[in-house]
Amino acid sequence: MNLAHGKARRLTQLPDAEIRDLEWSPDGRRLAFVAGEVPEED
């Protein structure tokens, strides 16, 4: 995939979830992340 000229694309989606703590794998082929429920406001 040519990232320099490619179009934006959604890689993954979790409805009603918040994704955070993204970390690239050392080979650059995978992403680890944490997803949790979107919190309720106090």
Partner: protein, 382 residues
């Protein structure tokens, strides 16, 4: 960026236009720290947003769906996200996202909207293949996960796990999700960092807000060792980092950077008034951030050397070969926005290679080779 283990910490941000921003760190209802930094982005409550997907951004369109409004200091969130946000009532102030700049795929945190943040809630660990989009869930229980860190060989993920009885460090084998609890104990754990050999983990543990320790443990749970104790209000993260040879760990305590041998000898301060230590790939220097610039502190004795001055804020990363340093930062002479800069490790002129990035550390591609692009803005490619 401040990152603390849930659920007791809260980060409260105060936005002040044309002045330094302030952040208050609270433990329960008690304020335990504060920090000054560059101006924080001002966000209206109605502009809180939710980003529930990971998006690989087009280099020509950096950081949609968030865009900056010309002449304003506000993030603008698209209408559909605002509506979604209102439904979900999110209050987070930090988001992680991805963007690429001139050929380098970068993983960054998005400084997002929201005045008050609750950092952490139940979360599970996922891995997604960037090429195929295949996603796997590696944990699925009532515990809350955070801070995933890949082992150097890419086969395991260490992460912090929090439950009602306290925190722990887990190592998950990626291929089959087999999980091993490496360490349990009191206090909040953060800053996981694998040793270069992949045999050990360094981490920071805070039994209480003003007391914390730097510790290591073998990846199989043996050899737990306490390397340093500190009593201070931690405003900036300690960011423990193993030296490339695995003999030492650099970390920030208060506003000083220390090096501690992994064999348990006392820590040595190598840079005062500094934070965010980053080892040079050859292990001879530790790059640190100071109030007005980037400095390289020699691993051996010596004064830190100025690499780049006249900076208001910087989040640097060494190129894999150590010839260059990229950083997201704000310059004194600039427009008070975060841009992505590149400079030689020998110092010299800054090259701005991407505009309007976010205030977090860029990540280099594997080989980190950089050359000017046709547009003249700089390109880095693996």
């Amino acid at each position: 960026m401040i990152a603390l283990t849930p659920p007791l910490f809260r980060l409260q941000l105060q936005q002040q236009e044309r002045k330094l921003g302030c952040a208050w760190l609270t433990f329960g209802r008690k304020r335990v720290g504060s920090m000054a930094g560059p101006p924080l982005e001002r966000c209206k409550e109605s502009e809180r947003y939710v980003q529930s997907g990971v998006v690989l951004e087009d280099c020509e369109r950096k950081l949609p769906p968030i865009r900056r409004q010309a002449g304003s200091r506000s993030f603008v969130c698209p209408k559909e996200l605002r509506q979604r946000s209102a439904r979900n009532r999110s209050t987070s102030s930090h988001r992680r996202g991805t963007f690429c700049a001139a050929g380098v795929l970068l993983a960054v945190s998005l400084a997002a909207c929201g005045g008050e943040a609750r950092l952490g809630r139940a979360g599970q660990l996922f891995v997604v293949d960037v090429t195929s989009g295949e996603r796997r869930q590696l944990t699925n229980d009532e515990r809350s996960r955070s801070n995933p860190a890949w082992s150097p060989d890419g086969r395991r993920l260490a992460l912090v796990s929090a439950g009602s009885e306290g925190g722990s460090i887990e190592v998950v084998r990626v291929v089959d999700s087999e999980k091993r609890v490496v360490l349990r104990g009191r206090g909040f754990i953060e800053g996981l960092d694998w040793s270069p050999s992949g045999n050990a983990l360094a981490f920071v543990r805070s039994p209480e807000p003003t007391r914390w320790t730097l510790e290591t443990v073998q990846a199989d749970g043996s050899g737990h060792r306490l390397l340093a104790r500190h009593r201070s209000v931690r405003v900036l993260p300690p960011d423990p980092a193993w030296s490339p040879d695995g003999d030492r760990i650099a970390y920030a305590a208060g506003a000083d950077v220390f090096i501690v041998p992994r064999n348990g000898a006392p820590p040595r301060r190598i840079a005062a008034g500094s934070w965010a230590p980053r080892w040079s790939p050859d292990g001879d220097f530790v790059l640190v951030v100071r109030a007005h610039g980037l400095f390289m502190a020699p691993r051996a004795k010596g004064r830190p050397l100025l690499v780049a001055g006249r900076l208001i804020d910087a989040h640097p990363a060494w190129s894999p070969l150590g010839h260059e340093i990229a950083f997201s930062g704000v310059t004194v002479a600039g427009d008070r926005r975060y841009h992505l800069y590149l400079l030689s490790a020998q110092g010299g002129r800054l090259r701005r290679i991407a505009r309007d990035v976010v205030s977090t550390t860029p990540a280099w591609s594997l080989m980190g080779a950089c050359s000017p692009s046709r547009s003249g803005t700089g390109a880095c490619a693996s």
